[in-house]
Amino acid sequence: MNEYLNIFFVILRRDLTLAFRNKSEFINPLMFFVIIIILFPLAFGSDSALLKQLTSGIIWISALLATCLSLEAIFRSDFEDGSIEQLTLARYPLTLLVSAKVTAHWLTFGLPLIIVALLTGLVLSVPSQTMLALLITLLLGTPVLSLIGAITVALTIGLRGGMLLSLLILPLYMPVLIFSMLAVQNATVGQSIAAEIYFLSGILVLAITLAPITTAAALRIRLS
């Protein structure tokens, strides 16, 4: 067990180091996130009453798209330099190694994204109960995005066309988006958001238990 924990942290450390070395990979999606948010007033005109209504939706959409942009980094470089073969052939379960990689992705992308999202929410003066709902849904939702995203990346990595990835991933993200938006809308009008939180937690638990196994299987399939 201890040995497994150790190898988990070795891989986690490795991926975190890589992310911090290559800062653009880590900051670009965040910048992308902010820029998307800035685009909306430009596109919708600056009718502030209208925009206010849309803010939380905009934040969530931007988060989703920024995730799409960041996902490929989970496996791409490993695929290209042959590291992925070495991970597959290691003496440890691939599921474990994959979990570490996904954790690293969430730490370097999901977590900062939540912080930036909250800051943006503050700047755009989102009311506090909406803000809380936003925080909770992002906390529960972004790990799911990383986890499910990893499966699709594993399936499509190295196949021609990065588009294929986005095509596969967005439909799979819909449930998370739908429940999160429901929660935020309910919170805005002062209703309970317990049901949505249960749903999101359920999805998260499901994703945590099943996604790494599936990702490992997908990687093996992709490599064979």
């Binding site: 190898i7 490795r14 470089s77 330099d81 070495q86 991970l87 052939l89 290691a90 003496r91 379960p93």
Partner: protein, 208 residues
């Protein structure tokens, strides 16, 4: 009894049969070179041996068990080094070695500097691999066979990009490993200089 053995193996790529009915046994201390021209299937055979691609027919056994059935058992006894180095350009030599060492499952303490020295990269501990030459990268990748306890090594063109001295270091390590009861299967287009250690051969393809 042979420890690693292959029975009636067949390889089909691009609808061509590259080889079929391939059999061989490897005992303790066995050193096996796979020969053949470009495209004859050497890499494919090695990838089959480690389970990266599936054989269309035949079986590969480790200690008498099909490697598909005891995958992690086999993987913990085996080290593979392919055409690509399997190292990260954005990590330093030491960081790369730490990861390789951890993945090999060897739990002993290792002095990375001394291994780098053995492999001719003294003083390059903290240099990013992206700032190394082709041969230096290859050496870092090869350092994994200095840090593993596994019995079976499978090396695909280990001497690519290495200079004469680098080649000699690896040759000596291979012989040492086999002498100590290990096994090595490798493919190379260069001539091995191993001072009389018995070398087995498999020829793939029609030409020799």
């Amino acid at each position: 009894m042979s420890i690693f053995n292959i029975k009636n193996l067949q390889c089909i790529r691009r609808d061509n049969i590259l080889f079929q009915g391939l059999n061989f046994d490897l005992e303790q201390g066995g050193l096996l070179q796979i020969d053949g021209v470009n495209g004859s299937g050497k890499s494919s055979l090695l990838q089959m041996c480690v389970g990266l691609i599936q054989a269309s027919e035949g079986s590969i056994n480790w200690n008498g068990v099909n490697i598909k059935e005891s995958r992690y058992q086999f993987q913990s006894d085996m080290t593979y080094f392919g055409h690509s180095n399997g190292v990260k350009a954005e990590l330093t030599a030491r960081e790369n070695m730490k990861v390789m060492h951890a993945l090999s499952g060897d739990k002993s303490d290792i002095d990375y500097s001394s291994i780098l020295k053995q492999i001719g990269l003294a003083g390059l501990e903290d240099v990013l691999l992206s700032r190394m030459s082709a041969g230096q990268k290859r050496r870092v990748g090869l350092s994994r066979i200095f840090m593993t306890q596994s019995k079976l090594w499978l090396l695909d063109e280990p001497f690519n990009a290495l200079d004469k001295n680098g080649k000699k270091i690896i040759e000596q390590l291979i012989v040492k490993h086999c002498t100590a009861g290990g096994m090595v299967i490798f493919a190379t287009h260069q001539t091995m200089e191993i001072d009389g250690y018995p070398l087995q051969h498999i020829h793939l393809g029609n030409e020799t």
